[in-house]
Amino acid sequence: MDAEREVLDVLARNAREDIDDIAAQTGLDADAVADAIDALESDGVVHGYQAVVDWDRVDEGKIRAVVEINVELDRETGYEQVADRIAKFPAVDALHLVSGDYDFAVEVLGETMQDVSEFISEQVAPMPAVTQTVTHYIMETYKDGGIRFENSDEDDRLSVSP
């Protein structure tokens, strides 16, 4: 495996690992790790580092919704142009073009359900290319970013074993 890939594997599991620990885990030297991180960032492989948050456990929690969007394209408007317009809204957390019954799957974040509803009805639905939206409010999150949201399992192994 090349250096960048090894560093990426570590960061994808825990973006808070410091450079020395990444070096120890990969067998690379610290400079090589720093170079690999720079390259991953400048090549657009790594776009940022964020916490995986269970917003339900935060007092002023957030509302999340997955919104299905159908669009109608024309000679001047492709998926790329529509995506660009939708992605510009800060409330849009994630935006994917998907296969199946609709075109875009959009994850929207807001303070309240009303925020999200207003955003969809006043900002997204009126866009000329958008023909239909269906909003699914997320009621409970069980797993996100590959991490299961639950009190972690007790380690019930014997403390010392052969």
Partner: protein
């Protein structure tokens, strides 16, 4: 009740004492655990659940389900091994049963069984229960704990009837290369020594695939290979292992097994089929994670001045603590709440070392190695 001499003479395991010391405290980070910290892959667990829902709770064939033996034989082709699933394979209740069966099938009273040490603690008692006499063959830190012809010769192993060969090794994490195995194989052929090769950690090697002594020229017919699902697929509690070997050896093992065990756990056999069919990705992810932890742990021990060779397999590092390893481990537990297992528990050649298991989360490994560094600095 009057007990048999055999039972009374079995010594208490040296691990027991550390288990009790560690259990007595509730703030311990344990690097003393000899099993994976992962759970079995979910697909394997659901296969076990499905089998129960379908009412698959009967015995299987003595040798284990045919479908499982076929998968095992297929799986071993990756190691350059070819075994007939019907004649040359037996599924057992953990690799432990396979080792015990091999001893009982291959050892006559008074036979000498050479055992490289340090090694897993169950072989010695297993040999003695089978009536054999244990011959200790110390491996050396200078050889990174690989077994050498010199070690065999100087221990008098030329007269041995059987050799137990456990690589990747518990407790050292040592692996052996083809060239190193070739030397041992030549020694076994020259002296007509049969081999029980416990390769339970074969799937957990780093930087190179496992190679089995049974693939050395002339060794297949004198070797019983033992393996299992516990370490590779984090299925220790499901108790499923197996042995591969020449038809006469497997037949003999099966004769004992059919009386003493009948068949290995049925539910676990369904989980094992699924593990071999569909859990390769999880296995690779576990191996990658062990590998990162291995590097971190080895580099941290070397940084704190406890020399540690780079182990090529299993999930143990074997740092040198110098002097009395038991006293070191006890003092470390007392002062810093970190449990490790003294190397001398694993027999000759283990003294002055510690078995450090990295089958523990990265976060705990960092905390534990920080604490050990503090302990070491305070001693110097």
């Amino acid at each position: 009740m009057r007990l048999s001499d055999r039972a009374r003479e079995l010594p208490e395991s040296g691990i027991r004492k550390f288990f009790e010391l560690a259990e007595a405290r509730d703030d311990v980070i344990s690097l003393g655990v000899g099993e994976p910290d992962f759970s079995a892959p979910w697909a394997a667990r659901t296969a076990a659940i499905d089998s129960l829902e379908r009412g698959k709770t009967s015995y299987t064939a003595n040798r284990g389900m045919g479908a499982l033996r076929e998968r095992i034989a297929d799986h071993h082709e990756r190691y350059g091994q070819s075994y007939d699933p019907d004649e040359e394979a037996i599924v057992t209740t953990g690799a432990s049963e396979a080792v015990d069966l091999a001893f009982r099938a291959l050892v006559d009273p008074g036979d000498t069984v050479a055992l490289h040490e340090p090694t897993y603690i169950s072989y010695g008692p297993g040999i003695e229960l089978a009536g054999g006499e244990r011959l200790s063959v110390p491996t050396r830190a200078a050889d990174d704990f690989a077994l050498t012809r010199e070690a065999l010769e100087s221990s008098g192993a030329a007269d041995a009837d059987l050799l137990v060969c456990c690589y990747p090794n518990n407790p050292t994490g040592a692996t052996m290369t083809d060239a190193e195995l070739a030397e041992v194989a030549a020694f076994c052929r020259e002296n007509d020594i049969r081999v029980v090769a416990d390769e339970i950690y074969a799937a957990l090697t780093y930087g190179g695939d496992h190679t089995s002594i049974a693939t050395q020229p002339g060794m297949r017919e004198r070797t019983v290979v033992v393996n299992g699902f516990s370490k590779a697929y984090a299925m220790t509690g499901l108790r499923l292992g197996y042995a591969l070997g020449p038809t006469d050896a497997i037949d003999a093992m099966n004769r004992i097994h059919q009386y003493t065990m009948l068949s290995a756990p049925t539910t676990a056999q369904y989980a094992a089929c699924e593990a071999l069919d569909r859990c390769g990705d999880e296995l690779r992810e576990m191996v990658d994670e062990y590998d990162r932890r291995r590097r971190l742990v080895v580099s941290r021990f070397n940084e704190m001045g406890l020399d540690t060779f780079e182990p090529g397999g299993a999930f143990y590092a074997f740092p040198e603590c110098g002097g009395d390893d038991e006293a070191f481990a006890e003092a470390l537990l007392e002062a810093q709440g970190v449990a490790v297992v003294p190397g001398s528990v694993f027999g000759a050649g283990g003294a002055g070392h510690l078995r450090v298991s990295y089958a523990t989360s990265m976060r705990e490994l960092k905390e534990a190695t920080d604490r050990i560094a503090t302990f070491v600095a305070a001693r110097n």
